[in-house]
Each structure stands twice: as C-alpha cells, then as structure tokens.
Symmetry: C2
Subunit: 420 residues, 2 copies
C-alpha cells in the first residue's frame, strides 16, 4: 500500500499503473483476493479493534457529536459484517467483460461494446471505517484501483484496514498500488479532486459540506451520492389501506435515509377519507406534519402545522412530513417535477392511465407504482452492494453498483478493412 | 421559438417546460415533425441562402480565415444535405422507451430500466450553420429540448434555420420552447453553462478555445467532443501489405479529423522490412515524418526528422506523423497508454495473443485489430448520425449518437409492497 509519505499525486500515479494491470486480472484471481481480505479482517480483528479504540479515545476529546462517534465505533459484530460484506461482493457476477452490444458492419468489421473498469476510483468518506473495506471490495471486484480518503478521526482504523486489505490482495497477485489510502489535511481532498490525469472518478460519501467542498474544485468527474426529496402520491382510485401502509413505510421504516418519503400528496376526492387515519397514525409515530390549507382542513384532528414554501423543498431526513392536496394526477406530477430531487417517487393508484402517466412524466431515477420508495437500493434491486445512489442523469442514475463502476470500450475486429 | 429578447435563463426554463411534454411525445409525432422540418428547409432554401449571403458579406469585413468562411457558406447542395440529414435521423430507431434491463424481485416487484430523454441539451458551436439543423434533429428524435448557441458570424443563417425548424416542429404538435437559439455575446455561453437547474447537458462543438472557456465555468455536465492522438501499431507478425494500406488510410484518408492516425509504431523485427516502403509512400503523399532513432535508421532514405518528446503527444490533424520502433506488443501497449488520448487505437497483427492483449490492455474508446482507426464514427458504426465523439469514460465513450442523448430511469411496479 502506498503510504502517506508519498504525495497525493504519486499515490494516484501508482494507482493508475496498478489499474493497467488490474484491467487484465481474471475473476478467479479477484475472488481469491477478496476472500483473502475477508479472512485477514477476521484474523486481525483484535488489532483492528485496538486501533479503533485509540481513534475513539483521541476523538473523545474532540468536537464530535455522539452520532459521529457511534459511526466511528467498531465492535466484533461490525468487523464480522465487513468481512461478510466482502464475501457478498465476491460472489456477485463480475461486471468486467460483459458484451453490452455487438454487431457486424456491412464491410465485415465486427463491433463489440464491452464493459471495462473505469481505472482509478477515489472515494472520500467521513466517519464510518467500514467504507474503507466496502468500497475496496467493490472497486477490486470491478477491477478498479481505489484511492481512499477517510476522516482523520478514523486515521488509525482506516490505516490498518487499508493495509490489511492491500497486503491480503497483494498476496493473491493483485498489484501494489491497487489499494491506497491518503491521510492528511483537508487540502488532500482538494488535491485528490484535481488529479484528472490519473483519477477517473471520485465518489464522495458524506454530507452536503463534503459535496460543496468538491463542487468548486473538482476537475475529476464526480458522482455525488444523492439527497432525496421523495414523494408518495395517493390517487383518488387508490386502495386506501395499501396507500396508508405504503405512506407509513416510506416515512417511518428508516426516516434518516435518502429514499424515505418527505412529502405526501393526496387527491382532493379522497383527502377527507384518507387523511384523518393516515395522519393520526403518522402523528402517533412521532411525525411532525406540515400541511397546505386543504390538508389541514381534511386532517380530522391530527396535529398539523401550516406548511411554508420551504417545506415542499426540504429533505427532512427525520420524523417530519409535508402534506399537500392536489386535484389530479397531472397536478401531482407537476408538483413532483417542481419540488422533487429526482430520486424516488411513488404513486398509489388502481387507475392504469394515471400509473402510466406518472411513470412516463415524472423525471426521477426510480418511479414506483403501488410500492414504497424505500426499495431504491442496490441490495433491494438485486444488484448487490452499492456505493451510493445517484440522482445525476449521466452515467449512473439510481443505485451505483458494480456496473456503474465500469465504463465500456468498443472492440473492432477486421481483416484489413480501410475506409473508402 | 424563444427570441433573443428573453434572457438565457428564461429560454432554458422554457426549454425545460417543453422537455416535460416532449418526454411524452410518441415516435410518430416526432417523425412528422422531422419530416416537416426537412420540407420547410427545402421550401425556404432561397430565404436561407439570402440570410447566409448577408452573414458572409458581413463576415468578409471581419477577421475570419478562409477556412472559417468556407464553413460558414451555404449553397443549394448544403441546404439539401441538411434536409437529407433530418430525414436520415427520422428513420433511425427511436432511442426513447427501450427496456435496457428488467427483472422481478423476490418480493414480486417488477423492475425495468428504461431509456428516457436527458431533458434539455445545449449545443454550443462555431461556424457551420448545418449544426443548427443536425443537432436539432438528433435532439428532437431523442425527445430532448435543444438550446442552440451558434457563432455570431452566422447569426442570420442560424436564426432563420432555428426559426424554420421550430415552427415546422410546432406545426406537428411539438411544444414551443423545444427548439431555441441563444444569440448574444460570449457571456451567453458562460451563462448557458451555469443553468444547472434547467439544462441537463452541454455539448460544445468547436476548437480547444471553446472547450477551455467552458472548463472553468460550467456547472452543467459537459461532454467534450474529443481530440484524438491515435496510433497504429504494426506487429512483427503483421501482413505487411495490409499494414501499409491501414497506415496509409489512417493517416491520409482525412488527416484533419480526430480518428486519423498521428503515430505509427512498428515492431523492431520488421522495421527494416516495413518502414522504407511505407514511409516512402507517406512521404510521397506529402506527410512530414518525425522518427525516433531506430525509425530514422530503418527509414531507408525516406525524408524523416528527429522526433521531439512533444511529437508523441501531438494531434497533428495534418499531413504529419510520428514514427517509433518498439520491441514488443507490450511496449506498444505501454506507449499507447502513456501518449494516447483514449480515442482510437489499432494493432495490425496475425498473432491472436497479441491481438487479445492489445484489446484488453489499451485504454481507449475504440480498439481495432486489423482495421483503420478511421472507422470510429456514428455512421460507420451503424448508429446513425452522431453529435461528436467522446473520449470521456462516464456516460458516453466513442460516438455520441441518439442513445447517448438519453439517460434511463427505473420503473418499479408492485401491488402494495413495503420494505420489511
């Protein structure tokens, strides 16, 4: 593993060299490397927990929140979960070498479009040390070299985890430089973000501050893990029991994540029938409600505040929900397209025309009919592990899994063809 | 069509609104619109040529090169070619609505990944007025709204062409705002490049100056049409007659384009046999040669200059070629990966192992075995018209055709599924 004595540019150049070799490593070798990493993590669990204790002890004196310290903390269960995660990635299909398209031209040339690794992927992340291992496994599986940049608060833990992964991978023939860790000040993130000659993609995993810090400076392509201002629209034709379950699930099952619902839209025709029970249940579950005038009028006694303009654009990531009443599926679509962040949007309906219109017209990564928005996730979609969710439209939209860590190239084979 | 009285931001917002409607327009309507545009261009040919004459007259007094003025000039043949181009795009398969993947989850949810338009595409271009029509046809065919930003020297021609296209499209039910033209000072390009709330992609079509001007300011995703420092490597096992034809074709067939060869690499074992004839023919065709010491020694009398370090990294786009001798296919691969721009690279060989190694290891959009690099082109690949060629790895690599003007979304259908 490249050490922090080397400059960021040197580490990235090493990674680029390693990526050239990685592009030719076969699946069996990658599987041995991943298994070796999983074994090594479990074999060195005590060391890893000691390093983590030292990080936690140092952080205890610092200016960190309890939530941050909890994310930083490892225990035996979390160490085992990391190893299990690596084995989970190991058994996924190899995304490299898939023939995505192929055809023969009139002149006899055979054209294939084949998936290939991106090259060097940099991952910038915050507290959770498990990202060190999760991201490494995804990158090696997709034959990418990885440059990790974790939180300085997790320096000892991340350093040991990266070293463990790197030497285990090397023992199976993965080139040195395939896994490296940059540890330094904040200026290292900026330096990493400008290595466009060697780094092919940056994936920042962290809060809005991290994203904002990259937006100004990155010359390397960035895929930002998305924020989600997700909606559930309950149509006039909806099965109201199912609608209530979907709304409660989308808001309550895990409120702090990007695919949780932040706004409920209800058709005017069923507002008085639907809202009193649904809002009462949400309120009993601790959800603070913000409604427009018609939602408040139809709330039937559930405590609900007047929504401000801001509420419609807010990703609460908490037990809060904006509630609006609309006159048609078209109005719901217009609301979603004005206020949504293009992540996950759901309609609950029994009307096939409204279902189709919603799916066709809503501009989002994932558009659901009669299901909770909470399914937007690499694991849930059957794609295996993911490195985040994208609301961008170029390259990756929705879960960023192994295939999204690949690009493609055209392979063209002939027998001396020249252009006329 | 939005007029230039409106601000750039307003034009882009109109385009965004139009794009919402366009996402639901069917293929038949788009075909009628494209046919109508082709008809209108031919019907208004005299007007278009008059506007073009006025532009040419005004430009004649300015500081423009003959090449620029030639690109600016329209005649009946060029007007007819524009109309024919639109009809060519019309008959291509509709890229929107293709199911790219689809599967059923264990819980019964049906997941489809479906191609959808990007939304609003801005095209910034220089002299050639035909881009106004070519780009409009590609964007409408892929259900994208287009915002055009042409050269001020072509203002009258572009204005009339855009107005012709927009009103013909509107006559067939395409929403107003689907085709607009921004005409103003250079600051308009910068303003366009920062409309990230409404513009989904910018495609600059022009020289390095245009690209550089956007690199510093664009917040909208940009796909840069590529430069190509392309190589032909002649392996020791190559059929030397075929190799000579490929090298001559790759360098001479159209030297000024991005898929023309700029460097010839030859295996040491056949350098003395191959180079004298090949270099003599290149030289006779007017090619200035720059060689390394071994190429010079093997040139056999063909005039050849000593190559500087810069030559290996230069896209001549002219009758010039760098010539190097290497000791193995691996050395050729290493040279290509160090100096290439990731565009189009060719090996000429009869050795299947070297062919495979070259295809696997060379990091480029298009990797050829026994064929000229000149085939990298949307038309040649059978993808129909293209808006440029990309050497980026994210989203579009190689020809940027209709499919690359699309993104995708996941459509998920259920019967009340919630996440456990």
């Amino acid at each position: 593993m490249a050490t922090t004595v080397a400059s960021v540019a040197d580490i990235c150049l090493e990674a680029k060299h390693a990526s050239r070799e990685l592009a030719r490593v076969d699946t069996a070798t990658k599987s041995l490397a991943l298994e070796s990493i999983a074994d090594a993590i479990q074999a060195r669990a005590e060391e890893i927990l000691e390093a983590n204790s030292a990080d936690l002890q140092a952080a205890a004196g610092g200016d960190y929140t309890t939530a941050f310290l909890d994310k930083l903390r490892l225990d035996h269960a979390r160490v085992n979960a990391m190893a299990a995660g690596v084995r989970g990635v190991m058994v996924l299909p190899d995304p490299v070498g898939e023939v995505l398209d192929g055809w023969r031209l009139a002149n006899g040339l055979d054209v294939r479009r084949v998936s290939v690794p991106l090259g060097v992927v940099a991952v910038i992340y915050e507290a959770r040390p498990n990202v060190t291992i999760d991201a490494t496994a995804l990158c090696l599986k997709s034959s990418n070299a990885i440059v990790l940049r974790g939180s300085s608060a997790a320096a000892r833990t991340n350093g040991l985890l990266a070293e463990t992964a790197s030497s285990a991978a090397r023992s199976q023939g993965i080139p040195a430089g395939a896994v490296s860790l940059v540890q330094g000040g904040h200026e290292d993130s900026a330096e990493l973000a400008t290595q466009s000659a060697t780094v092919d993609l940056i994936v920042p995993r962290g809060g809005e501050g991290l994203k904002a810090s990259l937006k100004g400076v990155a010359t390397v392509p960035v895929i930002y893990a998305a924020s989600g201002n997700c909606h559930v629209y309950v149509d006039s034709s909806a099965d109201l029991d199912s609608a209530r379950e979907i709304v409660l699930n989308a808001k309550l099952q895990r409120p702090g994540v990007c695919n949780a619902a932040e706004t409920l839209l209800v058709h005017a025709d069923i507002a008085e029938q639907f809202l009193p029970t649904a809002l009462a249940e949400l309120s009993e579950a601790g959800v603070k409600l913000h409604g427009d005038a018609r939602a408040i009028a139809a709330a039937g006694g559930a405590p609900i505040y007047e929504a401000s303009d801001e509420d419609w654009d807010t990703e609460y990531l908490a037990l809060e929900l904006a509630v609006g009443v609309v006159d048609s599926a078209e109005d719901a679509i217009a609301h979603v397209n004005s206020h949504g962040s293009g992540h996950s949007e759901a309609i609950v309906t029994s009307d096939v025309g409204n279902a189709r219109a919603f799916q066709l017209a809503v501009d989002a990564a994932c558009v659901y009919v009669n299901a909770s928005t909470r399914f937007t996730d690499g694991y849930e979609f059957g794609m295996g592990a993911e490195i985040g969710n994208s609301t961008q439209k170029l390259h990756a939209r929705g879960p960023i899994g192994l295939r999204e860590l690949c690009t493609f190239k055209y392979l063209i084979e002939g027998a001396g063809q020249i252009r006329a």
